[in-house]
Structure formats: C-alpha cells, structure tokens
Amino acid sequence: MLSKRIIICLDVREGKTTKGVKFKGNIDIGDPVAMAGEYYRQGVDELVFYDITASSDKRDIIIDVVEEVAKNIFIPFSVGGGIRCLDDMHRVLDAGAEKISINTAAVQNPDLIYSGARTFGSQCIVLGMDVKKVNKTPAMPSGYEIYVNGGRTPVGIDAVEWAKKALDLGAGEICLNSIDADGTNAGYDLVLTSLISRAVSIPVIASGGAGTPEHLKDVFRTSDAGAALIASMVHYGHYTVAQIKKCLSKEGIPVREFI
C-alpha cells in the first residue's frame, strides 16, 4: 500500500533556513544541512529546499547546500526557487536533488515544464503553485487564482486550469500552496486541495497552514493529496515527525513506519 508522505520544507536564504508568515517577515532558524540530517533521522519521507535568496549573485549557495545534503541523506529531496532554464535544472540535479520545483518561471514560460519533463523525465518536474482565494468570475471559475513572485503578483490564471495544463505539459507532481493559509498554523485550505487533487491524475502535495497533526489528518481525509508539506510545526520543535505519524496512523491513515 502507498503511504501518505510527510514532506518537510526548508526555506533557505543565503545558506540559512528561514520561516515567514504569509510569505513575509522571514527569520533565520538554522543550518539547513544539519536540520535535514535531523529530520532524516526522525523519519521524514521527503524534503524540499526552497531557495529564497534575494540576490542572484549568492545563488550558488544552494548548490553547496544540495551537495552537502545529498552526501548523507538517502531519501528523495527537491529543490525550488529561482530555477529558470534547463541549465539551472541540470545543476541542481547534478548536485544530488531528485526533483525540481518550478513556479514563477513555469507561468512565464510554460514550455519549461514540457522541456524539463522531456529532458529529465516527468518524475523530476514538480509544479509549484501559489494560489489565493478570489471572487468567482467567468475568467476565474474555481475562485482560486495563481500568483507568482513569492505570492506577490496575480497573473489572472485560474488554479484548476493551470493544474490541468501543467499535467498536459508533463509535470509529474503539483505542490499546491495556499497563500492565505501559509504560516497561519490554522490548517490547510481543504477546499482548494480537494479541488486540485481531484482535477489531476498526478500526485498533489498539500502545502500551507499546517500547525497540528490534526491538520494533516483533515487534508488526507478530505482530499486525494498524496503528501502534506509541513514547516514551522517541526522547525520550532512543537512536534517530531514520529509524533505526527503516530497520530495519523491511529486515525487509519497509512504512513511509513520508521523502523
């Protein structure tokens, strides 16, 4: 049986892990390589590193982080943030990542999904979607709109339409982030996650808002999401991966036992 995955997200800025609320006010909380090692030992199923480094000249730091992580951690991990072309993808994969998450660049140039999938395989290409609830209109029938540039810029594309298009272009997975829920610890956007995970045949990762194991239970119960992304609930030591998995397992949700 396929387990539901718990994925920890590490936002990396200039080599340090940070965490913000609703995409703003990031504070540094630790060394991403050490944190990745700790979560691996706790039994996390997968890791994601988002490079949110502001200045482009410091971009190479993420490659060093990826290389260090890859040496000691034998579970899959993805890298996202600022990846704009096949060359960027190549460098991140060469450094040891399994998957690449593309977001803004995919909206600006949807062909990047296609060419990335053709070159490295669909399993490598994760479409990151930053989504905000808006009024339902004929142009935005789902009531959810795609935003880019770290959640700052609306692009007038309906979230469901974009998910389906990404599937057709060859994306292997969708990481669905609710801007409204991000960093609130109030739970995932269940309506949005259900909507997108049922609209596409590829796996969907629920993201944004997780504060307690209950929130993960809720999203797995109410949607077809294959994975849930968490950050602050573990970064601040409120829960360990084992505690979260134990809670889900008790509720009958299949998780990977760490044995």
Partner: protein, 217 residues
C-alpha cells in the same frame, strides 16, 4: 609484484561499475555506495565494466531514449557478456524495466535478459506516477533480502512496472491498484523497481547485501 600494484589490482577487481547510459540518478547511487564503504565508478567503458566485480544498472528516464543510448554505445553486448560471466548484476528503476524483453513506453525493444514487458499503470482509479513509499510482499527468499525488516517501505517513482512472463522471476510484489513485481531476478541478475539509494536505511541494507552477494541463489 609490488604491494602497491597488488592492492591496485585488488581494488580493480573489487570495483563496482555503475553503467553510464546517459540516464539520470547515477550519482545518487554512487553516493549511496560510498556511504556504505563500497568503491565504485560511473562508466560507459566496456573494459572497465567487464573487469569489475559486479555491475549496477540504475537510472531514471524514458525507455526509448535509454535503449537508444545503450545501442549507440554498444553497451547491450557488454551487459549480456557481464551477465554471462555470472557476475552479480543489479538493475534499479528504469534498469529493472529495460532488462525485460520490451517496454510499452515508446514501444521499445529492450535487452531481454528476463522475458517480460514493462507495462504502464492504468490511468483509471490511481494516480500515475506511483510516487512515494510502499511496502512489499516477498514471494521467494533471496540473498538480497537477508536481514531486511518485513514491514520496511521503499521509495517508488514510476509510471511503468515490470511484468515478467514467468512467475519464477518474481522475488517480491507491491500493491498499487493491484499487485505488480517490485523485485525481479534470475540467477545472477536481480532488479528493484524502487530506488534503493533513496529508501533510507532499508534501501542501503539491500544495496549492501548486493555488494556482499556472490551471484548465486
């Protein structure tokens, strides 16, 4: 013979070759081997492959492209020769598919080391690719699985799965919309659909077992 030369020769014959056919994920396998203390090289050189103690055939990507590169580099003959030498041979992921007779992916004729077909998961009812951690049911014991916890889960990421013609070639199965073969093997050849190098300590354990295996079952 000097001691240095002797140890060099020992290193050469102990060496694990990872076959380079332009597929992704080769360095992850090399890193995992280094972590468990095994010397390895990623190579497409026929002589190096034929002189190594054992061979790993990993990879992610598409079957059609993979077979094209394998033929262009004349690696198909080398792979068959290394297997005829009775050297331990391990396929991983795409490597577990292209050792079959053919693949439904790009309708590709493959290496036909184990008769069978790599089939696509049906698009109805389940998400494709099969992505994530699943457990397995062991069909027959194998040196590769020595000491591996029966409840262990492994990391899968694939849209096609191995379907050997003969039941005897199935070592373990996994359930995803029905049972499929997740470990196959015959004589000195064994292959896992899941990623040993990304399956935490249980994956590393199987990789270690492979490196200790003499190729006999």
């Amino acid at each position: 013979m000097t001691r240095a030369a002797y140890s060099h020769e020992t290193a050469e014959t102990r060496m694990v070759s990872i076959i380079d056919y332009g597929a992704g994920n080769l360095t992850s396998v090399a890193r995992a081997l280094r972590h468990i203390g095994v010397t390895c090289r990623i190579t497409d050189q026929h002589k190096e492959i034929l002189s190594s103690e054992r061979v790993i055939f990993p990879g992610v990507g598409a079957a059609g492209k993979a077979m094209e590169v394998i033929r262009r580099k004349n690696l198909d003959g080398v792979i068959h020769e290394v297997i005829a030498q009775k050297k331990p041979f391990l396929g991983i992921c795409l490597g577990a598919q292209v050792i079959l007779g053919r693949s439904e992916e790009d309708n590709t004729a493959c290496l036909n080391i184990i008769p069978g077909t790599a089939r696509r998961f049906p698009d109805r009812g389940i998400k494709v690719p099969h992505m994530g951690w699943s457990d397995m049911s062991v069909v027959r014991s194998h040196p590769l699985l020595k000491g591996v916890n029966g409840r262990a889960q492994f990391y899968f990421i694939h849209s096609y799965y191995p379907a050997p013609e003969q039941k005897e070639d199935i070592i373990a199965t996994t359930d995803y919309g029905g049972a499929f073969a997740c470990i196959i093997g015959r004589d000195n050849v064994v292959a896992t659909q899941f990623h040993l190098e990304k399956s935490g300590r249980h994956g590393l354990k199987i990789l270690k077992n492979f490196c200790d295996w003499d190729g006999r079952v």
